[in-house]
Subunit: 395 residues, 2 copies
């Protein structure tokens, strides 16, 4: 089955807006082909399939009796430009495979497999369109509504995208998109929280001047100040367990080789599982930037662009996932997701849990993104065990 899952993911990767690459944005024409492929596999597994008004593909597998609660298994079907074959898609294909492996057997709960229409935020600078519609967030952007209409759906019916009333929870399988599991030689990781995140812009304003005629002691070099601070950012992150802090963008003006930089504009991305830890680090780094500026005669300003709290996964579901991992015979590893996922949005309304699969080389958002067949087999085994856990705990 694991090889079939990988084959299906690769077949979906061939549905693209851009020949030679995998690029699939919100409700692009290629998404119809994805829906057609998945719909076939879903129906073959005994599911009834629909596309809701937010463009989410949904396959429902009935329980042994009517009126049963529902378990959701899902992830997203859109991609970044020039993507790999597994980010998002693997979670949906795995969900379908788990139902297929039931081979017609009915459980005490319904299973709905969700293929969310949008998670990456490529088209509208606003991610999670599919999962936000699912939890009942209003979709207000007229461009999104136009895209929905263009795909042949009716945005006035967005309420039909909402989740059911009697819900057990939401489970998302996803590649880690990072190197941690590989570095620990582990196939799987149980996500206990999706890390909170701060994004800031920090500006160092000094004085541009002639690189040849301005002696070192009379300079107010914005890049030298920013460089000193970037060193402090790295030291802060290395000194606080579990913290990541990144300066990903740095613009230097005027940017001529023979002119001392007058202005440097840096971004700062800070993440940690504990909001208080993250915010303390951000405060320290802002203070550090200001002190660096003061000492060097520069003016430093910082602007908060995002302060997103940590989203914990549901403890009960995480516990059941741990049981499943143990019973399936794999080592337990709890971890924090540094990246955002649909589960982060869904968790606002529904108990949510996530299982990470090791990412070879930590590579994602890249054509070379991959997954090991043995890890897919492990995830399948854990997923099947999880379904048994849920089944056993229902009266």
């Amino acid at each position: 089955m694991e090889n079939e899952i990988i084959r299906r993911c690769r077949a979906i990767a061939a549905c693209t807006e851009e020949p030679g690459f995998t690029t699939r944005t919100f409700l692009c024409p290629a998404m119809r082909e994805v829906h057609a492929l998945l719909c076939g596999w879903m129906e073959q597994a005994g599911m009834s399939v629909r596309v809701d008004a937010a463009g989410n593909l949904r396959g429902c597998y009935a329980a042994c009796a009517p009126g049963a609660p529902r378990l959701y298994i899902g992830s997203h079907l859109d991609t970044v430009p020039h993507a790999g074959a597994f980010d998002g898609v693997l979670g949906v294909v795995l969900g379908v495979a788990l139902v297929e492996m039931l081979a017609g057997r009915r459980l005490k709960f319904e299973i709905e497999v969700l293929g969310f229409s949008e998670e990456e935020g490529v088209c509208f600078g606003m991610p999670f369109i599919g999962s936000r519609a699912f939890i009942g967030d209003p979709i207000l952007d007229p461009a999104v509504k136009d895209a929905i209409r263009e795909f042949g759906l009716d945005p006035s019916l967005l309420a039909e995208a909402h989740s059911a009333d009697d819900v057990l929870g939401y489970l998302e399988f996803h590649i880690e998109q990072g190197p941690i599991l590989e570095s620990l030689a582990l196939p799987l990781g149980i996500v206990e929280a999706i890390a909170g995140q701060s994004r800031l812009q920090v500006q160092f304003q000094g004085a541009a001047n002639h690189a040849g005629t301005t002696p070192m002691n009379l300079r107010r070099d914005a890049l030298a100040a920013a460089a000193e601070w970037i060193g402090a950012v790295e030291r802060e992150a290395r000194g606080v367990a579990g913290l990541t802090a990144t300066v990903g963008r740095l613009e230097v003006e005027p940017g001529a080789s023979n002119v001392i930089p007058g202005r440097a504009l840096a971004t700062l991305d800070v993440r940690h599982a504990e909001d208080a830890v993250r915010r303390r680090s951000v405060d320290r780094l802002v203070t550090c930037a200001e002190e660096t500026g003061r000492r060097r005669g520069l003016s430093v300003t910082s602007r908060n662009q995002l302060d997103q709290s940590t989203v914990p996964m549901d403890t009960s579901l995480v516990g059941m996932l741990e049981c499943a991992v143990t019973l399936a015979g794999f080592p337990l590893h709890r971890m924090t997701s540094g990246a955002g996922h649909d589960a982060m949005i869904v968790a606002r309304r529904i108990p949510a849990a996530m299982l990470f699969l090791r990412s070879p080389g930590g590579i994602s958002h890249h054509p070379e993104e991959s997954v090991l067949a043995e890890d897919v087999a492990a995830a399948l085994k854990v997923g099947a065990q999880f379904l048994e856990e849920v089944h056993a705990r229902l009266v």
Copy 2:
């Protein structure tokens, strides 16, 4: 006279390609107006004026007897875009004023005031067209020849731009374009050398990765490495007297706030009066970049783009300038020019010396570039004394 000199410089600044700013590139139409203004002042001072085939304006003031040697006094008449009124022009206007102050008196040598046509390198990415023609460097660029033709001159006659055979030397007055004299509260500085210069590109190649999912110990962050090295560049320059070292440009890729930088490309500009000192510092900084890369698992490559030796000014002329400064009653200050000047080119063939005038605020290449009337008066006094020195030393 000093106020008249400043007035003349400001009148020349009004000759521009771009209304509202001072922008005057090689042989642009506005240069004709500059020539007309200077020609008037030169003839009034008793000089015979011509424009040579390289577009240099030249006013010659005869000696008391024929066959006398010649002293050149000059600087350039072109500007950077959105320039100030004094860079270059002041040296030419001061030269004319010194002749005017002779009030018809003839010395034992000829004085030729040179207004070089091009120094800044704005048009053809190749500076010093005027002074290079003057010392007999061939002008090969067809675009330069076209510009000469378009101005109504004949590029086949470029040999007429060459300097005379019996030459005493070349004296250039120029604003400092830096903050040193102001910081020392000195009106004037004697340039003893024009600093040698190295330019390099240094590339840090790491691995771009997700800022949220890649823990600090598994990163190969190109910007963090570059920042560490930029700190070392600054320390090196602060630790070596007279050295300047500048990272003026830094390009970071991919440059997204949530992606660890995979590549950083930096420029390095290093200058010092002693070539051996400069080259040792460059070697240390290249080694430091490589070590930083090795320690962090990055590959570092550097490319030399320029290795220009220091150009010393003529010791005999510098000595006479020192005498003149002392006799004129001003404090002596010898300094290195961190920027290039026409004197650097002229010195290849002719003994050359330079006198710097204090730059208020260290500002140049900017509309706010200025000069103090008292400093112009000081330069005039020193210039007149210098002429007397030269006169006295000739048999």
